[in-house]
């Protein structure tokens, strides 16, 4: 059994009279320790997939499994616990709490889990050991995103879910972030799901899932992905 399993997952939004089918029978697997890249154009259903996998939304039908547990059957409360303990989230716009320092932002996530990494260690992992006491406003975008990644890693999540993590960053910084995420998978053995519209990221992934109009268009596998430093876009 795969680490992450999507089986015929559908998500239908009721918009007044009409129904919009955001996910139309998604069906794929992701193995533990992989860096998976989910690629698709705007409106293809990437975000819906992310929401359902991240426990922020429920599917209309089908099953979603993570590490052998059926996420699609979770209640509201179970979803909270799921997000809390199993998922680490990296946002496009970092979503740091402005009023907390870098260290405190990491601690904010760490304080609610059972087995967190020490916050300082998590920040050291992303190379910010010298900026721990800075507020987000005093950090650059890349630094902020690194804090966000440290925040996600500190939770010791089963799954690191990244939504366009480089979307708001310049090329160079974006690359550094990708490097970090790849490292999380290859060095630390975490399962990382990278959601992006940018197909240039494909080479760094173990598995690339193409989404198109709510369906999985294709899945590419690569046993030895290239380093994030080598890709260009």
């Amino acid at each position: 059994m795969a680490f992450v399993e999507f089986r015929d997952v559908r998500k239908i939004y009721q918009m007044g009279e009409t129904q919009v089918c955001a996910a139309d029978g998604l069906d794929f697997d992701i193995e533990e320790g992989e860096l998976a890249c989910i690629v698709g154009p705007s409106g293809s259903g990437k975000t819906t997939l992310l929401n359902m996998l991240g426990g922020m939304d429920t599917c209309t039908s089908g099953t979603i499994m993570l590490a052998g547990r059926e996420v699609s059957g979770f209640s509201e409360k179970e979803l909270v616990q799921y997000r809390r303990h199993e998922i680490g989230f990296v946002f496009q716009f970092y979503n740091l709490v402005q009023n907390l320092t870098a260290l405190e932002n990491v601690e904010l996530a760490a304080q609610i889990c059972d087995d967190p990494l020490p916050a300082a260690e998590a920040l050291a992992m992303v190379g910010l050991e010298n900026r721990m006491d800075n507020f987000p406003a005093q950090l650059s975008g890349g630094e902020q995103q690194r804090v966000a990644i440290a925040r996600a890693l500190a939770k010791n999540p089963k799954l690191l879910l990244c939504d366009e993590p480089t979307g708001a960053l310049d090329y160079k910084t974006g690359k550094a972030i990708l490097h970090l995420l790849q490292e999380a998978s290859t060095v630390h053995g975490r399962t990382v799901v990278l959601i992006t519209h940018n197909t240039a990221f494909k080479p760094i992934a173990h598995r690339v899932i193409h989404i198109h109009e709510g369906k999985v268009a294709s899945v590419e596998l690569c046993d030895s992905p290239s380093s994030a430093d080598s890709i260009e876009w």
């Binding site: 975000t47 992310l50 929401n51 991240g54 922020m56 939304d57 409360k77 909270v80 616990q81 799921y82 997000r83 809390r84 303990h85 998922i87 989230f89 946002f91 496009q92 716009f93 979503n95 709490v97 402005q98 009023n99 907390l100 320092t101 405190e104 601690e107 904010l108 996530a109 304080q111 609610i112 889990c113 507020f135 987000p136 406003a137 005093q138 925040r151 939770k155 939504d163 708001a168």
Partner: protein
């Protein structure tokens, strides 16, 4: 055609109802409270004025110390500006109603006019008679139809209410009851409400009892004595009814009339004096003539009686002489009788001796005779025997011899016997002679005895007659002596009485000569307790209105500022777009101004409309407990409404302009970019390392957020503090009034019974009162005090305050009854040889401090200062809540007032059930000269009634506070949530439970609430003391401390309001979609 811009403006309202409402509601509150409270005082005056006009209330009351007569009334009627005049007789008296005794004002009423008037709607007294002034409203029953009937106050606060059909009886008055009233017993036919007696807790002052009228009654003018002059006259001023009372227009008219009347006062006074003196002199002259004639006739009668007594005396003396003569005669007779008796005794003795002699002779004779007979018989026998022998001798010689011998012997013997017989006969004759003598002696003796008996009877008869004569004489003498005594007594009495009568006449003459020029008073409505009190209460509300709503306006400004700032921030890009499209700053600005104008405008109008009805009605209704005044409608005062509206809208617009201008100054390009999030900052708290390290992140965020948005912080703090302050003001006001009772009767005054005698009370009656109190099982301690009601003032201050002067007889004992101390610190105050301790409120009113001098004046009959000022130095200012008083030691009183004080009042500590107290009270009231027996429990009840008025105010304040809290907290939380939607969504994604998420937001709200509530407690102290001092009535000081419990309640309620808002806002947090976290910052 509506421009697209305008459509957008319209939609911005419909799409943000919450924000619109927040501004509208706070505007409604601020504006409504301001307008409502300002209008309340106006409405109170309007509704009172309406009542005064509808009942044709007098503008002036003209009175003089000697009353008025018809000539005076006519003179007043002639004065320019007088509309009409109604003479009135009134007198205060003690009247009984069942077991109760009340001080009642009896006032004459034109009953024909009253019966003709229509008062059926309870507010108006319709009558065609302009001279029918101060028309009472008949509340229940009928107008009096007959002599001895009355109508009484419907609203009097009495222990036992007087009802229709009850009987009241006048028992005592300030003057002679007979001289004042023709009728002293009245049947109550109806209950009325008079505009002249408006304040139900104080109908006016009286020289009787505790100094206040308990209730009043209207009777026919005929129920007063014919000789009783008019007490005064009610006057209406021409044109005054058209003016609002109180207003300058009214004052102009009435003051002019007062000036004219007072200008004539000397004429009135002189005329009245001569009229009164002439009448009294005529009466006195009649009395003097009567005195002289009665004295003459009485003297003549006495002289006659003296002559008769002398005659009787002469007769008695004659009788005495006769009696003594008779006595002497009787004594002689008695002596003779005794002599006769002695002689008789002697004769008797002689007779007895002779009898004895005779009896012995007789016995001797009879013995001799018997011896003779026996001897003869023996001799015969012997001779017979011898004859026989002789015969027997046969020899005749012998026989003859023997015969011869025998014959011889017989002869001899017969001779002897014959002699013997002769001797016997002689003895017999002698004896018979003796017997005759004896018998004659006896007869003479018995005659003597009979005569003596007759003499004795005659003597005893004389004795009896003498005794009768003596008794008659003595009775006559006694009669004479009692007659004499009676005569002397009568004479003394007559002389004394005539002397008394003479003294009285002389005194009366002196009195007449001494009648002073009467005082003449023209009293306006300001001297009427009810009208003046109501006016003062209205102006108090007005003062509160000028300060109180400030807090609402301040909060309204802050709410508008933060709300509009938030709106401008949210529409940053829109503003940029407008700018880019070429709209001018003014046009863009107008959108927000229009928005603010509409929101605050709608709110203000609603607030004014609702609260200018609600507040005046609630406040007037609660004042209706004190004033017997119908509550009429409360019209909206347009100038005030416009002013309040302008103020409220203006503040909102200013706040909006301030918010918009800063954004408009930026260049469009910058506006198109998301505003850089406000950077996090280290706050002061973090410098305190140990403390900071112990805070959780949520708490750290909360702490940092608090200081991050200063505007919001201040809005929240001021708003919440305002809410707490309002609550504290309301609760503190209630504490203040509760403290009157708790402190005055718990800590200051330690007695609960007051027995007041009149100045003229006789020592005997005073002793009787003391005995009753000493014997009462419920009275534990008593002490005497003296003093009087006086007018207190201060040189250079145009303010007169009524106060009681209280002088304890025993300074040491007094301390057990009154605790005189300073309010702050409770330092005890002693009464020294000089100076006076005055009550705090009195000191405040006059603005005096310890060491300053005050002036004490006597109080005239109409409650004004009288006579000269008596200066005294204030030695201390004492905590005291009910009434105003000046405490002095007897020495100080005498030094200040120039005469020693009389101790007419006894204060007592009594503990007992109500029935025992009533019994004691009745017993005391039965003693002549006892004017007041007052248990303080009744007084305390009166104060509790007052508390009810305050309750309404407290509720208004609590509701206002709640509304304020809700608006502020809702607004605050709302902004907090919308501004941080992203942050909340992120937290949710991070796996925060709903509890943790709510806590993250509401912790800030709660912390702000706590800080705000604490600030509010401090603010509330100031606000409460302002309101308490403003709301205080003249004769009373409210407690100045807010109780800890009130702080706790205000604090807890504020927190509770905050919790309620938080609970209401939870769904909004729950509704935030986590997907928000994925969106870009816009």
């Amino acid at each position: 055609m509506a421009s697209a811009f305008n459509k957008e403006v319209r939609r911005s309202i419909t799409h943000s109802v919450g924000r619109f409402l927040a501004i509208a509601i706070i505007s409604a509150l601020g504006c409504g409270f301001f307008a409502g409270l300002l209008m309340t005082s106006i409405d109170m005056n309007i509704s009172a004025d309406e009542f005064y006009d509808e009942t044709n209330m007098s503008d002036l009351y003209v009175t003089g110390t000697l009353g008025l007569d018809d000539a005076d009334i006519d003179a007043i009627r002639q004065v320019e500006g007088v509309e009409s005049v109604a003479p009135v007789r009134m007198a205060d008296a003690y009247a009984t109603h069942g077991d109760e005794k009340y001080v009642m004002r009896f006032e004459s009423l034109d009953l024909d006019a009253a019966r003709a008037s229509d008062t059926s709607d309870g507010m108006h007294a319709y009558s065609d008679d302009a001279a029918y002034i101060n028309r009472p409203i008949l509340v229940e029953g009928d107008w009096p139809a007959n002599y001895g009937e009355c109508v009484v106050a419907a609203d009097a606060v009495l222990d036992e209410p007087i009802r229709v059909g009850d009987v009241i009886e006048i028992i005592d008055g300030s003057g002679d009851v007979e001289d004042t009233f023709a009728c002293t017993k009245y049947v109550v036919t109806g209950l009325v409400r008079s505009p002249y007696y408006l304040m139900t807790s104080n109908f006016g002052s009286s020289d009787l009892g505790a100094g206040e009228i308990d209730t009043y009654a209207f009777v026919s003018a005929d129920d007063f004595s014919q000789d009783y002059p008019y007490t005064g006259a009610f006057v209406t001023a021409a044109g005054a009814a058209d003016e609002l009372y109180p207003s300058d227009g009214y004052d102009d008219i009435v003051d002019a009339l007062i000036a004219r009347l007072e200008g004539m006062s000397m004429d009135f006074r002189v005329a009245r004096l001569s009229a009164v003196q002439a009448k009294a002199q005529a009466e006195l002259d009649d009395a003097r003539v009567e005195y002289e004639s009665e004295r003459a006739s009485a003297m003549a009668q006495l002289d006659d009686a003296a002559v008769q007594l002398d005659d009787a005396k002469a007769q008695l003396d004659d009788a005495a002489v006769t009696l003594s003569n008779s006595r002497a005669e009787l004594d002689d007779a008695k002596r003779e009788l005794a002599d006769g008796a002695a002689q008789l005794e002697e004769s008797k003795k002689l007779l007895d001796e002779k009898q004895v002699e005779y009896d012995a002779g007789m016995k001797e004779y009879e013995a001799g005779a018997a011896q003779f007979v026996a001897a003869k018989a023996e001799a015969d026998a012997r001779f017979a025997a011898a004859q026989a022998q002789v015969d027997a001798i046969p020899d005749p010689v012998q026989r003859a011899y023997a015969q011869a011998q025998l014959d011889e012997q017989r002869g001899q013997a017969e001779a002897r016997f014959a002699a013997e017989e002769q001797k016997l006969a002689a003895a017999k004759a002698q004896l018979d002679d003796g017997a005759d003598q004896l018998a004659a002696g006896k007869a003479a003796y018995e005659e003597g005895v009979r005569q003596a008996a007759e003499g004795q009877v005659t003597y005893e008869d004389g004795e009896t007659r003498l005794a009768t004569g003596q008794a008659d004489y003595e009775a006559g003498l006694a009669e004479y002596e009692s007659g004499l005594a009676e005569y002397l007594g009568e004479r003394d009495r007559a002389l004394r009485e005539f002397a008394d009568a003479k003294t009285q006449i002389d005194e009366a003459q002196a009195d007449i000569d001494a009648i002073e020029l009467p005082d003449f008073y023209v009293l306006d409505r300001g001297k009427n307790v009810g009208a003046a009190g109501h006016e003062a209460d209205a102006s108090r509300i007005d003062q509160i209105a000028r300060v109180f709503p400030l807090i609402f306006f301040l909060v309204a400004a802050l709410v508008s500022l933060t709300t509009m700032t938030r709106m401008v921030d949210e529409e940053r890009m829109l503003i940029g777009t407008y700018k880019a499209l070429g709209y001018g700053n003014a046009r863009i600005c107008s959108k927000y101004l229009i928005y603010a104008l509409l929101a605050s405008g709608v709110g203000s109008v609603i607030g004014i409309v609702l609260l200018s009805q609600f507040l005046p009605q609630v406040i007037m209704q609660s004042y209706a407990i004190i004033y017997a005044l119908p509550v009429s409608s409360s019209p909206i005062d347009i100038p005030i409404a416009l002013f309040a509206f302008g103020l409220s809208v203006g503040i909102t617009l200013l706040a909006t302009l301030f918010a918009v201008l800063s954004s408009l100054r930026e260049r469009p390009a910058l506006l198109m970019l998301p505003r850089a999030p406000k950077p996090g900052k280290r706050i002061l708290l973090e410098r305190i390392g140990p403390l900071w390290r112990h805070l959780s992140f949520s708490n750290k965020v909360t702490a940092r957020n608090l200081f991050r948005y200063k505007r919001r912080f201040f809005m929240a703090i001021i708003g919440i503090a305002g809410c707490t302050a309002l609550l504290l003001t309301g609760l503190g006001l209630r504490d203040g009034i509760n403290d009157i009772i708790e402190k005055q009767f718990g800590q200051i005054q330690h007695f609960n019974l007051e027995v007041q005698g009149s100045d003229g009370q006789s020592p005997g009656n005073a002793r009787e009162v003391e005995e009753i109190l000493a014997n009462s099982s419920i009275v534990t301690e008593t002490t005497h005090v003296g003093g009087e009601n006086a007018i207190i003032s201060r040189a250079g201050v145009d303010k007169d305050v009524r106060a009681s002067v209280i002088v304890p007889q025993d300074l040491e004992a007094f301390e057990g009854f009154y605790t005189l101390r300073e309010r702050i610190g409770h330092a005890p105050l002693a009464l020294g040889q000089a100076g006076a301790v005055i009550t705090e409120k009195l000191a405040d009113e006059l603005g005096v401090h310890a060491g300053d001098a005050i002036e004490i004046y006597d109080q005239s009959m109409v409650g004004e200062r009288d006579g000269v000022a008596h200066d005294v130095i204030v030695s201390g200012i004492a905590e005291y809540y009910t009434g105003q008083a000046v405490f002095m030691s007897p020495a100080s009183y005498e030094a200040v007032m120039g005469e020693p004080v009389t101790f007419t009042e006894i204060i007592c500590k009594a503990e007992a059930p109500l029935e025992d107290r009533t019994a004691l009270g009745n017993e005391l009231l039965d003693v002549a000269g006892v004017e007041v027996v007052s248990f303080y429990d009744e007084v305390i009840e009166t104060y509790r009634t007052m508390l009810k008025t305050v309750n309404a105010v407290v509720w208004v304040l609590i509701i206002a506070a709640a509304l304020l809290a809700f608006v502020v907290l809702y607004n605050l939380t709302n902004i907090n949530i919308t501004e941080r939607t992203r942050e909340i969504a992120t937290l949710k994604v991070l796996g925060f439970t709903p509890r943790e998420t709510n806590g993250y937001i509401f912790r800030e709200t709660i912390l702000l609430t706590v800080i705000g509530a604490l600030v509010g407690c401090v603010l509330g102290i100031g606000m409460e003391s302002f309101v308490v001092v403003t709301a205080e009535v003249d004769e009373m000081m409210f407690g100045r401390d807010i109780h800890l419990l009130s702080f706790a309640i205000a604090f807890v309620l504020t927190i509770a309001f905050s919790f309620i808002v938080s609970l209401a806002m939870m769904p909004k947090i729950k509704a935030i979609n986590m997907v928000e976290s994925l969106k870009s910052v816009d």
